[in-house]
Amino acid sequence: MQFDVPGRVSGATPDSASVKRIRAKLMGAATPIRPLPSSGAMMALSVGVFVVMAILLTIPFGFQGFSRLTPGAAAIEYSAVLLLALALSGVVVGQMIPGSRRILGPVAGVVLSVVLLSAMASLLFPVFEMRNFVRQGIPCLRLGTLCAIPAAGLIGLAMKRGFVTDTLQAAIAGGALAGLLGIGVLALHCPIVNASHIVAWHVAVIAVTSLLGAISGWCLSRFV
């Protein structure tokens, strides 16, 4: 028995006329272009825009949340949000560059964000008061999700500069980063320092926006 490796697939060559046509087309269209900046530069830019947008979007609602926190709690909470913004920016940038090394996948990024933010809220604000739980929570979820919309639009525009190879994964990554911006706005605005409130209504923003991202990514990849 022989194993016929150089068979029809491994020995096949393309139609030479077709290759000539492609060659002529590409040679005729070869113009200088500017490559995308390095991943590090794009991530730094993304985090910068994230901070500016979070502050700008909080201005109309006020910084009551920031003034309620002790300096230590504020430093820990905002550092965690910034670190996650950096990590999710890396995920988004990875989705824009074909064949880039991916350390963290979009779904893993969402899970990491939910776990880290929930653990941080439970440790920093160990109050599990359930009074007015839903009445106070719905406006936070709504505000966070609404703030994620302009961020998602901006991320979508940025992604168009790259070449997305997996629309679904890219949309989840974009939704997660946009949702984190919503959480950032809530961290600056919401004065409720209650772990159950933060875990259920603030952290839920990232789950909701990632899910919305997944749905829109699925629709885009199926019907567009």
Binding site: D4, P98, Q169
Partner: protein
């Protein structure tokens, strides 16, 4: 690739000449149809041209190209599926020829590949036909090296079982 990005037409021509056979074989292994593979190759080069700004110079070029090739193939597959959904069969088509699995003891690589699931076939072609490393395949497919190794392992197991069956039959 860097020269191509700088607008060097000769570099573009050299890239097409050097890499077209490799990507044609990749598309042929997925579609098993020469015409479709030629069409995909054309589409692939057009996409490479429009996405050339996303390549960063010290990075390996093949994973970047294979990631785009995969996208081209997936888009084509979806387009075909959508088209198939709108079409209906008006008359009975002739039965396809029986697969050429065992031909006097020779085992056709293409037929064996066709029996693998698409994700395993893709990984195997990248590793064994195109000669990419596990890390490069992981980059091209957007997965981890562990996942690539697992898919390759499963593909080998399946091929081994198939070859064993063919050997027993002969």
């Amino acid at each position: 690739m860097a020269n191509y990005q700088n607008g060097d037409a000769a570099a573009a021509g050299m890239l097409v000449d050097t890499l077209s056979p490799q990507f044609f074989r990749f598309f042929l292994s997925q579609t098993r149809n020469r015409e479709s593979a030629d069409d995909l190759l054309q589409d692939f080069w057009l996409r490479i041209h429009s996405a050339r700004h996303t390549y960063r110079n010290p990075e390996p070029v093949l994973p970047w190209m294979y990631a785009i090739a995969r996208r081209v193939r997936v888009d084509q597959y979806r387009k075909n599926r959508r088209r198939a959904g709108h079409e209906f069969q008006v008359e009975r088509l002739p039965d396809p020829a029986a697969p050429r699995a065992a031909d006097e003891g020779n085992v056709d690589f293409e037929t064996l590949l066709a029996s693998l699931p698409e994700s395993q076939r893709e990984v195997l072609v990248m590793l064994k036909v195109s000669g990419l490393s596990v890390d490069e395949v992981a980059r091209a497919t957007g997965s981890s090296a562990g996942s690539v190794k697992q898919k390759a392992h499963r593909a080998y197991e399946k091929l081994r079982a198939l070859l064993k069956g063919v050997g027993n039959a002969v």
